[in-house]
């Protein structure tokens, strides 16, 4: 099971998430811009070995949305 902490731990030399992100609040409303979201989704694809379909991205608004997607994606792959 992936958690929000797993996503927050993706911060590295090339990609940084702001501190104190609310888990259930929209990332865009918390100040992330379109490029931040693109980079976050890329980091998730690379680090968690998943593919996020383009049509899915609009539904991934918050960290919790992303966690739910990852856990559904992992369980449906099994």
């Amino acid at each position: 099971m992936k958690t929000v902490e797993d996503i927050l731990a993706l911060t590295n030399d090339t990609f940084k998430l702001p501190a104190n992100l609310q888990h259930d609040q929209s990332l865009r409303e918390q100040g992330l811009d379109s490029l931040d979201v693109i980079m976050l989704l890329h980091e998730i694809e690379v680090n968690f070995d998943v593919q996020i379909p383009q049509e899915q991205t609009r539904q991934l608004r918050s960290l919790q949305d992303i966690v739910n997607f990852l856990n559904t994606s992992v369980s449906s792959d099994r």
Binding site: T14, F15, D33, L35, D36, I38, M39, H42
Partner: protein, 315 residues
């Protein structure tokens, strides 16, 4: 490893560039597109966009680039055996733009002319094609133009593209018997099922996420491919000139490769992403200054395609 230099190698000897003086301010568009100054300066990396005059055509911009080249290194048009134009924005559907440039410049009759309909990787493709042709057919002098005035095709209300692109042209003079950069090797690729990420029927559309993902995935691999084939490491390269897609994409690739930021410059804040001209615009000054022994070019974008060229300065 490719064969080393002989006395008659084809070298990139000089570059002429043209940036129209017209500018459109992105800062004036922050409210319209809901973006911040920080986003424009630090993420996109484009504060102003170079915009040509409406009546200026692709061939006109190419001619202006040629005037700049004449200031760098006078070129005898009667010796030119090849004129190639990299563009997806021809003056008209028929004929191809190189024929128009050939006529406007008054180049001699014994000259091959063609367009290359590539995009952001167009310069790396064309440099390789022209060098290979010159070597195979024993040409001594060629002019390679790039020009993609996207102001003709961008929807000014489309947030994904309206703030990014600028107009420009360049011309590279390739010849034997003079100092310049020799193309040692190159690497190319095209991602399957990806051509829709950047396309234009009436106006340009871009899937920013797909473009970014392909760019940061493929460009570093392509650069490593060229280095490995030539038994070189990243430390052996003096300068990396990456297609100036956006500040973030250049920064991301630079950090992925763990190369110093000063070796992978980003310099389009005042004119924008000039597509096929972005790399030659950056290459003009190092070539003029003869500062760097080995330069690696990496273009990526429309297609989605990419190309990386390894250059070495030779006397």
């Amino acid at each position: 490893m490719r064969e080393k230099i002989s006395a008659s190698t084809v070298n990139l000897q000089s570059i002429g560039v043209y940036l129209p003086s017209g500018r459109a301010s992105n800062l004036a568009c922050t409210e319209k597109f809901g973006v911040t100054r920080f986003f424009l300066e630090e993420k996109l990396g484009v504060v102003e966009r170079a915009v040509k005059k409406e009546e200026e055509t692709t061939s006109d911009l190419c001619l202006s680039a040629f005037q700049s080249l004449q200031g760098e290194q006078p070129v005898d048009l009667q010796q030119i055996q090849l004129v190639a134009v990299v563009t997806q924005n021809p003056d008209m559907k028929i004929p191809y733009t190189a024929a128009i440039v050939h006529q406007k410049l008054g180049v001699n009759k014994s000259c091959m002319t063609f367009d290359i309909g590539q995009g952001c990787a167009g310069y790396t493709h064309a440099l390789t094609i022209c060098t290979a042709l010159m070597e195979r057919l024993h040409f001594d002098h060629a002019l390679l133009f790039t020009c993609d005035p996207y102001s003709n095709i961008v929807d000014p209300h489309d947030k994904d593209t309206a703030l990014l692109f600028g107009d420009a042209a360049s011309v590279s003079y390739l010849a034997r018997g003079g100092a310049g950069y020799q193309l040692l090797d190159a690497d190319f690729g095209t991602a399957p099922n990806s051509y829709t990420c950047l396309r234009c029927q009436d106006t340009l559309t871009m899937d920013g996420r797909e473009v970014f993902t392909h760019a940061v995935r493929e460009a570093p691999k392509s650069i490593q491919n060229v280095l490995t084939r030539n038994q070189l490491t990243l430390a052996d390269i003096d300068l990396f000139l990456l297609h100036q897609g956006s500040k973030k994409v250049v920064e991301y690739i630079q950090k992925t490769l763990a190369i110093p930021a000063e070796k992978a410059p980003f310099a389009i804040q005042s004119y924008g992403n000039t597509v096929s001209s972005s790399i030659p615009l950056l290459l003009q000054e190092p070539l003029r200054q003869k500062q760097h022994t080995r330069v690696l070019l990496s273009g990526f974008g429309v297609g989605f395609s990419w190309g990386s060229c390894l250059l070495e300065f030779t006397q």
